[in-house]
Symmetry: C2
Subunit: 319 residues, 2 copies
């Protein structure tokens, strides 16, 4: 592989993996992960959501769902070359919670939005930009966006101060040809932005799609350790770091923490490829129905689940 | 997706999955799978190895390691549109065991070989061709082949009566760029042959690589149900059949048999992505050391395993 000096590996285990275990990570766990990611050469660790508990009610969510500067400071201690990122959702973040960057350990704020909310996302990201943060807008569920809506959104992003724009395969339904087309389109509309890629593994394509996006010019590559992320999970950090050939990468700290932390955790909470996630991926649907199935006694009733999602009447009701 | 009328899905669950459970499938299981694959639209079922127990000693191997015509007949009963294939290894098959095709239920004999044995493979396949069989040569471990050796082998295959030539990613170490380059090269050297692809999932790329090979012109696509195959397993049949849009494909019989047969079996025997298989994939090595690790008490000692394979002295000894 050619050297890719601009590649930025962004590990989102705590944030996306938190969707699996309700952000039930100890401070010790997150500190350990930060050290492992630092030693492995990850450019960023996404340490959670910076949403407001007043605007987003969650039962029994751990502290990484509502990041607090003191908690980050207590956890990270001395910062390494690995930067910190946080995700916010449109309508769930209270702007008044965000302090100027010089008072924060956060470097990058990523704003997640559906395409209809891209103007709100640009407004928010612009405010964070003025406060000194690096910013991204992550367009979720891009497989459901209509061409002209997506093009219009990209046009507006091109004129914004946002640093990075992400292709997000929320449903894990995209195949290589889709990813290549999207990255090329994002680059055409956004010649002065960096492009990011965030994948899900419903079709066992998360790593492949990430590499293909990189080869087409995406430089911000999301991953999570042992693939820990919602439903089928993400591009595994161990594969991405293990594959990249630059001297700064070292897969060993990731192997070590998987062995010590993630194998025991995986015995208690489930993520990764299962048939219901494959089904929602193949149908290009949100995984929420599959997540509900996996938590029920019918978790392995695949045929019934598939019939339920594809029978015309039920499908209409389901929408 | 454009219609791909020439695509042939070849399910190799019993043959490659048999490497996981020593071919311990009941006649009833194999019959059930044949019916499911027939209803799902698979073009071929590979029912096992047609090696000779005299030439290949195996402890406690089930009957699918040494196929017998009577067993196939008892299992399959009435043949559907789904053809039967069998794999033979150079040096392990006794030609005298092969009856003329009109006396056999086998349609396709696939000859697996390393590149050094390609002439022997061509000789064997030519004999089977004369007996009326469809034939393929499956060049294993293609990631370790040198360019000029591979080109010379392809040249000789071009002049042979072999119908299909397979790219086999034995170590699961190939990424999309590799696969695309290999399929293009095979097509350049073999304009009058069909090209096949057989992948392993060490880097979670088996399905992605299969689709990419198809888009470059490979038409014989190997897969196995729930990915059941040696070590990290193969391209999952449920994803491939679920993705292909032609009317003849129906994923439901595959979902049904996974639920009834494969989930219970997976609780007893292991296959699929684990970190040791990722490591041998990243290092482009045979998975046998990782298989041995997974059967030992050290199965989750990833860092030690990685160090062992990458330390120069040990690596030399290991080779």
């Amino acid at each position: 592989m050619n050297p890719q000096p601009n590649i930025q590996v962004l590990d989102c285990t705590i944030r996306d993996g938190g969707l699996v275990n309700q952000w039930d990570f100890s401070v010790d766990f997150v500190r350990d992960l930060y050290q492992a990611l630092s030693a492995a050469g990850a450019a960023y660790m996404e340490i959670g959501y910076k949403n407001s508990p007043k605007l987003h009610k969650l039962d029994k969510a751990g502290p990484w769902a509502f990041l607090d500067e003191n908690l980050i400071r207590e956890t990270i201690g001395q910062k390494t070359a690995t930067k910190i990122s946080a995700l916010v959702d449109i309508g769930r973040v209270d702007e008044r919670d965000i302090v100027p960057r010089e008072e924060s350990l956060i470097d990058l704020i990523r704003v997640a939005c559906y395409i209809k909310d891209v103007d709100k996302a640009i407004d928010l990201a612009t405010k964070f930009h003025r406060m000194g943060y690096e910013t991204s807008v992550n367009i979720m569920a891009v497989s459901h966006a209509r061409d002209h809506d997506l093009n219009a959104a990209l046009q507006r992003l091109a004129d914004s101060p946002v640093d990075i724009v992400y292709v997000v395969d929320s449903f894990g339904s995209l195949v290589p040809r889709d990813i290549e087309g999207l990255v090329e389109r994002f680059q055409r509309y956004l010649p002065n932005k960096m492009i990011g890629i965030h994948t899900h593994n419903n079709l066992q394509m998360a790593f492949a799609n990430t590499l293909l996006a990189m080869e087409r010019g995406a430089t911000f590559l999301d991953s999570s350790v042992f693939g820990m992320g919602r439903a089928a999970g993400n591009c595994p950090t161990e594969l991405l770091i293990g594959y990249l050939k630059e001297a700064r990468y070292d897969v060993r700290p990731i192997l070590d923490i998987i062995e010590r932390r993630f194998i025991p955790m995986r015995e208690k909470v489930e993520w990764g490829y299962t048939i219901p996630y494959a089904i929602t991926g193949l149908l290009d649907e949100h995984p929420r129905v599959a997540i509900a199935l996996r938590m029920s006694a019918d978790k392995d009733k695949y045929l019934e689940f598939y019939e339920r999602l594809t029978t015309v009447e039920t499908h209409a009701a389901h929408l």
